[in-house]
């Protein structure tokens, strides 16, 4: 009796090894990592306070120097497009499972892991900068996790007065005398899409072709996405000079917010890239 246990143990061990080494069994799904690299041009942004020597300083098309002390934005509504054109929506109606706040001050937030992506080759990615209006209601009951992370004291991605999320929050300094810049964007629309009764829709759909297909299966690809904040003041839509009239929320939430939104996220019509581009796909 004592000896008879050994063969079973051996069998079990060999089985375990077999399953490990069986390369032919393609998994039905795998992960995809989205890595966001926030830059001014090709230089990765380093945040810093007014007098920081380490902070990355950018110069706008109008010759205005500026740097950031805080840089956050919301990514949601992620869709991966297969080689055959079909779309895989990734928890697009669930902010807890399908949305994230990218915060340059927290390295762990610049990578967002998409789990359980069906095995296939993907040629394109779509995502939203911000939150679609139909779910942008600060509904803590429905999405407690996203609500908590967006509302955290060190994140502050909420517009309480508008009961919606902030889509981008940029704090920093401009001109050589380091005047304060504070640029917040978000939607204020009321009513149904297509027939909004008032407000501004600051959500932008981003569409990016992948330079090489992301092959999900045995490998878990990493898609490195660049967000070039040089576009903030020097974008495809608008060339902006910061001043008393637009550098802080009281004015830019009014007329000028849309200019920043169009620069960062495209104009929602002809430009669906805004500041975003693909750096690489690693399979």
């Amino acid at each position: 009796m004592k000896l008879s246990k050994k063969p079973i143990l051996l069998l079990a061990i060999s089985l375990a090894f077999m399953s490990c080494s069986s390369d032919d069994d393609m998994p039905v799904a795998n992960n995809v990592d989205l890595e966001f690299t926030n830059t001014f041009g090709s230089e990765t942004i380093v945040l810093g306070d007014a007098t920081s020597a380490a902070a990355t300083v950018n110069t706008s098309a109008e010759g205005q120097v500026h740097h950031f002390s805080e840089l956050k934005y919301v990514i949601s509504n992620i869709r991966l497009i297969k080689e055959d054109g079909t779309e895989f929506p990734y928890n697009v109606n669930d902010l807890d499972e399908g949305a994230t706040v990218v915060n340059q001050a927290k390295p762990e937030t610049t990578t967002y892991e998409l789990t359980n992506i069906p095995t296939a080759e993907y040629k394109q990615i779509k995502f939203g900068l911000g939150v679609r209006s139909d779910i942008n209601t600060l509904d803590e009951t429905r999405f407690p996790e996203f609500y908590a992370s967006a509302g955290a004291n060190d994140t502050e991605m909420m517009w309480e007065w508008g009961t919606g999320y902030r889509f981008t929050k940029i704090e920093g300094f401009y001109d050589t005398d380091n005047k304060q810049l504070s640029i917040h964007t978000g939607s204020t629309v009321e009513g149904q899409e297509g027939s909004y009764t008032q407000g501004v829709d600051a959500y932008r759909d981003i569409i990016l072709d992948l330079p090489t297909n992301a092959v999900v299966g045995n490998s878990a690809p990493k898609i490195n996405i660049q967000a070039d904040f040089n576009h903030l003041l020097s974008g495809a839509a608008n060339t902006i000079t910061l001043g008393d009239g637009n550098a802080t929320p009281s004015v830019h939430t009014a007329a000028n917010m849309v200019q920043f939104v169009d620069n960062l996220g495209g104009n929602a019509e002809t430009n669906t890239k805004g500041m975003f581009s693909i750096i690489s796909v690693q399979n």
């Binding site: 009951t141 309480e160 009321e190 007329a255």
Partner: protein
């Protein structure tokens, strides 16, 4: 023997459990509350029809309106700022929230909201049911969250009973909280001022001074403070001193339109006697100060209201006219509304 006792105990336990369930499924008579709809008042906000006030919905809303557990440290309720004797406004220039935090705007009165199409100074909310969340989560107001509130009140027997009576079961949900508070507010109709009684030919008459004030009002005020609500519900920049809070842009922060910069909803003049100070952040202590300011000239702006632009950026008023106007405005006071 022991087993038998145990079994009987178990059966009794189950029976208790059953009868508890029966209790909780008792249905209560919960009739709709007939809203007072005064003659000549505008149409109801269409949202009212999707949330008709009921006897227990209103009772629950009233209890929630006075519930301090709505704030993070249980220190303030809606009623802390919306005080009935001030027509549900208060006496501070800017609203005071938890820990004495100062909000950016003056507390607006709560009256005749069922007939309004916009809520708040900038009209960011079009349905009253969407409004309670704002003060609940705002840092300078209650600084709480709806789940925190549900957690605090859901085991309370009084609330469980009221939710049962109002909605048919005891579940405390966010939407039920919002709807109940709105239902209570829909019932707050003010239409028993001296002015109303005169309009209804109930025997009262204007004094001579009030009658003169009514004339001035019709000449110089009624283009904005129109209708029986004494507001045309438009948004206008009338050149009042500007709130330097960096979050203030008036109506423009909602619409994104330059032309709405520092525009605010024309406030109703009903019960204006009780709601000092005046202006979007309480710039003026008295009605006299408001009239003096309008008379001496307002701040110019690109989008200053055309009525002011066309009149040298002012509304000229003699001292007598001001006195008469104030006398007239006091005929819009509704003692029944603030006392009952």
């Amino acid at each position: 023997m022991m087993k038998k006792i145990f079994a009987i105990g178990l059966i009794i336990f189950f029976l208790i459990g059953c009868s508890d369930d029966e209790l909780s499924s008792v249905s209560y008579e919960n009739p709709e509350v007939a809203l007072t709809i005064p003659t000549d008042f505008p149409e109801l906000n269409s949202s009212v029809y999707t949330n008709m006030p009921t006897k227990y919905g209103v009772e629950l809303g009233k209890k929630l309106f006075h519930e301090k557990r709505l704030s993070t440290d249980n220190s303030i309720s809606c009623a802390s700022c919306h005080i009935q004797k001030h027509a549900f406004a208060d006496t501070h220039s800017q609203a005071i929230g938890v820990e004495g935090r100062v909000g950016i705007r003056n507390t607006p009165p709560i009256q005749n909201l069922a007939f309004m199409n916009f809520y708040g100074w900038d009209g960011s909310k079009l349905r009253l049911e969407n409004q309670p969340l704002v003060p609940i989560i705002t840092h300078e107001e209650m600084d709480s969250s709806i789940l925190e509130i549900i957690y605090k009140i859901e085991d309370n027997q009084d609330y469980r009973e009221l939710f049962q009576k109002a909605y048919g079961d005891q579940e405390v949900t966010a939407n039920r909280i919002y709807k109940s508070i709105a239902q209570f507010e829909y019932t707050l109709t003010s239409n028993n001022s001296k002015y109303d009684k005169i309009q209804r030919n109930e025997g009262e008459v204007f004094t001579e001074i009030e009658a003169l004030g009514y004339q001035v009002f019709q000449e110089k005020c009624v283009s904005c403070h129109s209708t029986t609500l004494f507001t045309d519900q438009s948004f206008r920049n009338i050149g009042f001193p500007i709130n330097s809070d960096s979050n203030e842009a008036g109506r423009a922060r909602v619409t994104g339109l330059e032309n709405d910069y520092m525009s605010f909803r024309v406030p109703s003049l009903r019960n204006v006697e009780y709601t000092a100070p005046y202006g979007s952040f309480g710039q003026f202590k008295t009605l006299k100060e408001v009239l003096d300011y309008l008379d001496s000239g307002v701040l110019y702006a690109e989008n200053l209201d055309p009525i002011l632009k066309d009149n040298n950026n002012k509304i000229s008023l003699s001292e007598e006219e001001k006195e008469h106007l104030i006398a007239f405005m006091k005929t819009l006071s509704d003692p029944d509304f603030i006392n009952h």
